[in-house]
């Protein structure tokens, strides 16, 4: 991967430690979807979006997004990792499939927003990032998708507002509180290995 | 042969290795010391998992700073927490992951995995999920996964700390029977009987270097002197 030469030290690629962190957070996403699944209305409410917000807030954009992608890949492959033991291609083509795709973009957005405040993670900025990336971005993809699947835009909007929104706002706050505590207690170095400008690429 | 030249390393401003120079040529070498004495850090410098702040670690003249990948293939490493060393879903997959991409063909890989599982009493568990093994079996699997790559030197960082007495004996016996050089970090002092050389570490330095009996006696006295109260000196 020939990089653009930059004058300062940057981090590039992924180390095996990053790979392990990605795998662990993808597994955490699966665990968060299991014991707390609360069926409310047509859409199951779980702690899963909490995981989608936590991964990029703690691991950063690159590792966080890859953790979400890894989780979705295993789900798509047929492991029953979604609430209620669902999995396979079905959830992706169902009425809430757009939310699953939205997770990837949302995680990326949260990761990029989080970067600006590090090394010190502040709750309110974190909460704002989670709302923007974990709610607004995800809904921007999820609601139109539902609108097509359910055949009606208004129905899709009502559903997301009443079934998802209250829980998601609480989860955004919860994720920011957890991320702040984790950053304080156990800061994780950035992904990749430090590469000096113009260094030969050996990764 | 492994050689350390003036190795110094610090963590968060605390010196954990102070100017250590050593030649590690003996077949069986023990390394003992209290928690935090620096022995785990020293062990991790031997295969380049940690590159020291200053000084050099050499394997037959190759520096871990520049040849980490090659050195890691020649120096195997076993950790104390078996669960964290198992990186693949099933037993056989975990053993073979270190062989992938190293040249051997599919058949050779299968044959080597079969051999090593048989030798370490795991033949019946080939396709089992690795997380369902018992604690002792997990450590055996960790050992097997390292030995399958046939390293010349094996560094073991307290491989028996989390095990019960019976499994400690099993792992000890396995280590004793190995052809390769073994560098063993341990809190189980009786394991060291019959070793060629035992090093004692304290506060980042080697404070004793000699025969097992003398080293153990030295270490026991050191711990008795430094312990504020009886029975608090070991984990």
């Amino acid at each position: 991967m020939p990089g653009i030469p930059t004058p300062r030290v940057r981090h590039r690629g992924l180390t095996v430690r990053d790979i392990a962190l990605i795998g662990m957070f993808a597994a955490l996403l699966a665990v968060l979807s299991m014991p707390f699944a609360i069926p409310v209305g047509p859409v199951p409410i779980t702690l899963q979006t909490l995981g989608v917000m936590l991964a990029p807030s703690i691991l950063g954009a690159k590792r966080g997004t890859l953790a979400v992608l890894t989780f979705l890949a295993l789900t798509l492959a047929g492991l029953p990792l979604l609430p209620g033991g669902r999995g396979g291609v079905m959830p992706f083509l169902g009425p809430t499939g757009g939310y699953l795709l939205g997770w990837v973009v949302g995680a990326l957005a949260i990761g990029l927003l989080t970067r600006f405040m590090l090394p010190r993670y502040r709750f309110w900025i974190g909460f704002g990032s989670n709302v923007l990336g974990g709610v607004v971005v995800i809904y921007l993809i999820g609601v139109p998708w539902s609108a097509i699947a359910l055949g009606d835009g208004m129905l899709a909007t009502i559903m997301s507002t009443f079934a998802f929104l209250p829980g998601d706002l609480i989860k955004a706050a919860l994720a920011a509180a957890i991320a702040a505590a984790v950053h304080r207690a156990y800061p994780i170095p950035p992904a990749g290995r430090p590469v000096a400008a113009n260094a030969a690429d050996s990764a | 042969m492994l050689r350390l030249e003036n190795v110094t390393h610090a963590y968060d401003g605390r010196l954990v290795l102070r100017d250590i120079s050593l030649e590690l040529g003996e077949h069986r070498i023990g390394l003992i010391g209290a928690n935090g004495s620096g022995k785990s850090t020293l062990a991790r410098t031997l295969n380049g998992l940690i590159v020291p702040d200053s000084g050099r670690v050499l394997l037959d003249g190759l520096d871990t700073r520049t040849h980490a990948r090659e050195i890691r293939r020649r120096v195997g490493f076993v950790f104390s927490d078996a669960a964290a060393q198992i990186v693949m879903p099933t037993v056989a997959e975990d053993v073979e992951v270190g062989l992938r991409g190293r040249g051997p063909t599919r058949e050779e890989i299968d044959e080597r995995v079969r051999c090593v599982l048989e030798r370490h009493g795991l033949a019946g568990h080939r396709d089992h999920p690795a997380h369902l093994l018992s604690g002792g079996q997990k450590q055996m699997l960790a050992l097997a996964s390292v030995l399958v790559t046939e390293p010349e030197i094996l560094v073991c960082d307290e491989p028996t700390t989390l095990l019960d007495l019976r499994n400690i004996k099993v792992i000890e016996q396995t280590l004793r029977g190995l052809a390769q050089q073994v560098i063993l970090l341990t809190h189980h002092l009786d394991t060291l009987a019959g070793f060629d050389r035992v090093l004692v570490m304290d506060a980042g330095s080697i404070v004793f270097d000699g025969a097992p009996d003398a080293a153990v006696a030295y270490y026991t006295e050191l711990m008795a002197l430094s312990a504020p109260t009886e029975g608090e000196h070991q984990s």
Binding site: M24, A30, P42, L79, F92, L155 | L49, R72, G101
Partner: protein, 199 residues
Amino acid sequence: MSMLGLYVPGDSVLHRLPVGAKLLVLLSAVTAVVAFADLWSALGAALAALLLYPLCGFTFRHVWRVLRPLLPFLAVIALFQALVGDGATAVRVCAQLAMAVLLSGLVTLSTRVSEMLGLFERLARPLRYAGVRPDRVALVLALTIRCLPLAASAWQASREAYVARGLRGRPHLMVVPVIIGLIRSAEAMGEALAARGID
């Protein structure tokens, strides 16, 4: 976690088709029916998808398992359209959803998890030119499956510790130590991978 997942063993034509072909057919069929937006073709497609189940050796139980998560949505659509008063649209949308989910179910039920993961690894190969290492894709997928029991038991253990200490309320305090513990385990696994010469 069994690697069997939702796969149901069998030897129908569908079981033997390569997974890439199945996904391609699935996506084109769903896109076509949704884009066409016609009541009768949607109903026909849903019925055809349903009839494929017995033909491929699946039973009513499988159909039920695939369709059940969809039922609340179908109910909501019916209710909503009853208020708005457009019955034809309601039936068409329900048929489209049922068709999409039934066809996806056929793909998932007839495809091994490992086969699907193999497809992802092949699809990742061209990403080599963008700096992605395809062997890393396989590694992270396997590593995640390995981490599932680890994460589940850490969660369980922490919940027990939380209850044992008689703590109540503020459950997020329970989550922080779990996550730090998982990060530590992941770092130890990374170190073990590096020690085995995988980097």
